[in-house]
């Protein structure tokens, strides 16, 4: 019996680590493929473009992963990005000092996240429905703030941050910001008690509550963090393109969510790692880049992303269900043997 148990556990363990390994493998294949297909792929400039391209989505995906791990979802992230970008433009136009404007944007993002959190935690509303609502509401606010205007003349020292790279490297500055935050989130999720609590909430909300985990406060904080970091993504976007528009980042929420799911965070909650999400972001970014370099049309990328997303869940499910079916059949055979060939009806 105990041998059997260790057997199951190693299999379980193997299944758990395998998703990151598989993503890493796919990543290696993508890089190798990219290098073979296109000689420009492994150039320094290309990598610096590649990394910069998905930085806003990557930023939003970090807190989003944690939210999904606790069994909730936040679809309003891209709208908060747009709202923050619009506010930044408006404030800059109104001659507000840039550091203050940035602070106000972050606060607005946190407030927007708090609105989500409040509705979800206090009123116990389903987060899917709430954030579909705030997806429209907050984007609406962005349009109300900025309308058809576009603010462009941001100070060069800030836009330089948007498009510049860290001196002597090919790493874009916004991506460095992402790396820092990814490390912070990695530590938070995997090496602090907060992370332990988050997994417990996602694994079994009731048991977490019975263990004294303050899940209302944690969820609230997560949504606030998601709002603030989405606002930060809005600021990065604004400086990267020196453009503040109400429609900035429309539709990014789907890309961020796709990256989170592909990264191995399950929609039921309780599972997933920051490493997995970072790998999946890189994977999507690289595939995107390779296809663009090869002049493959943009639409193929959508198909690839969608397919990866579905395959990431379908494959493990198929394996599990095949195994399960085999077990049931085995069991029935045993019963037929013991139970002296009997059937219902």
């Amino acid at each position: 019996m105990s041998q059997n148990q260790t057997g199951t556990s190693t299999r379980r363990l193997a299944r758990r680590v395998s998703w990151e390994t598989m993503l890493a493998g796919l990543l290696a294949i993508a890089i190798l493929g990219g290098a073979l297909v296109n000689r420009d792929f492994l150039t320094v400039e290309n990598w610096s473009n590649l990394l910069a391209n998905f930085v806003e989505i990557a930023l939003m995906a970090l807190p989003l992963s944690l939210i999904v791990i606790t069994g909730e979802i936040d679809l309003s992230v891209a709208s908060i990005l747009g709202l923050s970008s619009s506010l930044l433009g408006l404030l800059w136009e109104a001659k507000v000092a840039m550091p203050l404007a940035i602070l106000l944007c972050l606060l607005l993002g946190a407030a927007a996240g708090a609105l989500n959190g409040f509705l979800i935690v206090r009123f116990r509303l389903p987060s899917l429905a709430v954030t579909i609502g705030t997806l429209a509401l907050l984007r609406g606010f962005a349009y109300i703030l900025l309308g058809d205007k576009a603010v462009a003349d941001f100070p060069p020292e800030y836009t330089a941050f948007g498009i510049g790279v860290i001196p002597f490297t090919f790493i874009p500055m916004p991506f460095a910001l992402f790396i820092i935050l990814a490390v912070v989130f990695w530590i938070l999720l995997h090496h602090t008690t907060v992370g332990r609590r988050l997994y417990a909430i996602g694994g079994n909300q009731t048991a977490a509550l019975f263990s004294g985990v303050d899940l209302k406060r944690l969820k609230m904080l997560l949504f606030i963090a998601s709002g603030a970091i989405s606002a930060l993504a809005g600021i990065v976007y604004t400086f990267r393109f020196s453009s503040s528009r109400a429609d900035n980042g429309t539709g990014f929420e789907l890309s961020a969510i796709a990256a989170v799911f592909l990264g191995g965070v399950t929609v039921q909650g309780g599972k997933g790692t920051v490493t997995g999400v970072v790998l999946s972001l890189l994977l999507i970014g690289i595939i995107n880049n390779v296809l663009t370099l090869a002049d493959v049309a943009n639409e193929i990328l959508r198909i690839v992303t969608g397919s990866l997303l579905i395959a990431s869940i379908l494959l493990p499910n198929l394996i599990a269900s095949t195994r399960e079916r085999w077990r049931v059949r085995q069991r029935l055979r045993e019963i037929a043997k013991f139970g002296a060939a009997s059937t219902a009806k």
Binding site: S9, R12, A207, V213, G339, A340, S342
Partner: protein, 513 residues
């Protein structure tokens, strides 16, 4: 003995993992008879019910209906064969009407192929009237009391024209009035030659309703026969079947200072006027029937459910905020009744589960130290003599070992007061005695313990004092010497207050309000 049994279980064996739940159980149900199945928690009654319902497959043995062997591989097959089951927790569609709940998936149709709502409502209405229930078939299930939901389940079984009706603790959540109504229905079914199996803990009910009683213990049938061959004492003796002293190693400890004091706790519709104290080194049993409000009181003390009024103080300090965090800070621990739903995160390792309550102890420089994590988990699981690796997810552990993990996780908080809710439910005998040994030892070390249990011998064996609840109120406080099964049952069934009512239970016309 009227005739051939309608359904008969022959030599049934069933194991879950390493735990053997049923060992060679044989049980016949006869037409027109109510057959009561009794036994302690974990005796295997529920598993037996689930096998008859088609939810579990027996490992060995056969089910015979009208002399033919059958194999139920799904609930639908069992239903089709004429076996209806009413579970303790009704499984209903709360958004749909009563009539639709009864007829889901087999609604009557008009000649045009539309659902014949009129016919459906008529049929259900007739049943409702027969049962003397003032519900309308169009009413939605949402908002019905548990008792009314139970009625819906019964009508469902009736419309199936079931030959076999199995009721798994149907009265657990019912009031005396409602039980009376239910028994009238059962009498009527008996008249229609239905074979009824009645699973209950309430001795009075069992003697009032049944023609035959079977007692199970540890997965085996230890006694079976017509009701007139049984006495209450005999049933209890068979159910317990072993000497209490050997099993329950509670040593006499001189109670110390008051650890917990609760005053006038009230939660509307659930419980009221709850006041008691617990002292150091004391095990206070909280007894009562399922649904009497015991777990609800425990949850409210621990801060999970809100209180409408009342005061909870630990070591003379009144708790201000009513949250589990505060309760834990004050030195409280709660081992909840449902270990899978409330006690454990099933997919996490034992280590992570154990340390979930003491995360602050794991920090080193603000980060989680895996070493400390492992040390703490190892210390407490070893104390509980956990069998199994602590780095494995708990869902592969046996029930007993899972329960040990839950206990370990609360012991790790080193509480002053530990509330244990059904600590040995569904746990095999070995693990059970280990749990008891640990609780006894903890009390000896000065911990105050509240033990909620439906397992009367356990309560009697372990508790220094027994509080009994009935319908949301404390009805008795019994010292160790006063606490006999009879005394507890008396208070738990509210008999002290209304002894006559139960005597009337059998056949008194229902006074319509």
């Amino acid at each position: 003995m009227s005739s051939e049994p309608t359904i008969e279980l022959v030599d049934i064996y069933k194991s879950f993992g390493s735990t053997r739940v049923l060992e060679g159980v044989t049980l016949p149900l006869f037409p027109g008879e109510v057959h009561s199945l009794m036994g302690e928690n974990g005796a295997g009654k529920s598993t037996l019910v689930k096998i008859m319902a088609g939810l579990h497959l027996a490992d060995q043995g056969a089910i015979r209906m009208d002399g033919h062997e059958v194999l139920f591989r799904s609930t639908a097959q069992a239903q089709h064969a004429g076996v209806s089951v009413i579970y303790q927790e009704p499984t209903l569609f709360r958004d749909l009407s009563i009539a639709e709940n009864v007829f889901m998936h087999r609604q009557p149709k008009t000649p045009y192929g539309w659902i014949d709502y009129a016919a459906m409502n008529r049929a259900v209405s007739a049943h409702l009237k027969q049962l003397g229930v003032s519900l309308r078939p169009e009413d939605p299930v949402l908002g019905l009391s548990i008792a009314d939901q139970q009625i819906v389940e019964i009508i469902k079984a009736l419309t199936f024209e079931a030959k076999v009706l199995i009721m798994d603790e149907p009265t657990a959540a019912l009031s005396v009035e409602e039980v009376k109504r239910l028994f009238q229905v059962v009498e009527r079914l008996r008249g229609k030659e239905v074979a009824v199996m009645f699973v209950s803990h309430r001795l009075e009910e069992v003697f009032a309703i049944s023609q035959r009683i079977t007692v199970m213990r540890d997965g085996r049938v230890v006694g079976s026969g017509p009701v007139k061959e049984w006495t209450t004492d005999e049933v209890i003796r068979k159910m317990v079947g072993r000497s209490l002293e050997a099993l329950y190693p509670k040593e006499k400890v001189e109670p110390g200072k008051v650890v917990l004091r609760v005053r006038d706790l009230r939660r509307a519709g659930v419980f009221k006027d709850i006041s008691f104290e617990v002292r150091q080194g004391e095990i206070v049993g909280l007894a009562g029937l399922v649904g009497a409000g015991r777990s609800e009181v425990a949850r409210a003390i621990f801060g999970i459910d809100p209180l409408d009024s009342g005061e909870v103080s630990v070591s003379e300090t009144t708790l201000r905020n009513h949250t589990p965090q505060d309760a834990m800070a004050a030195g409280m621990g709660l081992v909840p009744e449902d270990r899978q739903q409330q006690g454990l995160v099933m997919e996490m390792t034992a280590t992570r589960n154990v340390t979930l309550t003491v995360l602050h102890q794991l920090r080193r420089f603000g980060l989680v130290s895996r070493e400390k994590e492992r040390q703490i988990a190892a210390r407490w699981t070893q104390r509980m003599l956990l069998k199994g690796h602590i780095e494995e997810p708990v869902n592969i552990l046996s029930g007993g070992n899972q329960q040990k993990v839950v206990l370990a996780k609360w012991l790790a908080t080193e509480p002053r007061l530990l509330i244990v809710d059904e600590p040995t439910r569904g746990v095999d005998v070995g693990a059970k005695s280990e749990v008891h040994r640990t609780l006894g030892q903890l009390a000896k070390e000065g911990m105050a313990i509240i033990m909620i249990s439906s397992d009367l011998p356990e309560v009697i064996g372990m508790a220094d004092r027994v509080l009994v609840m009935h319908e949301g109120k404390l009805t008795a406080e019994l010292s160790r010497s006063e606490a006999t099964e009879e005394a507890i049952m008396f208070a738990a069934t509210g008999q002290a207050a209304s002894k006559t009512k139960l005597r009337e239970m059998k056949n008194v016309p229902d006074p319509q309000e």
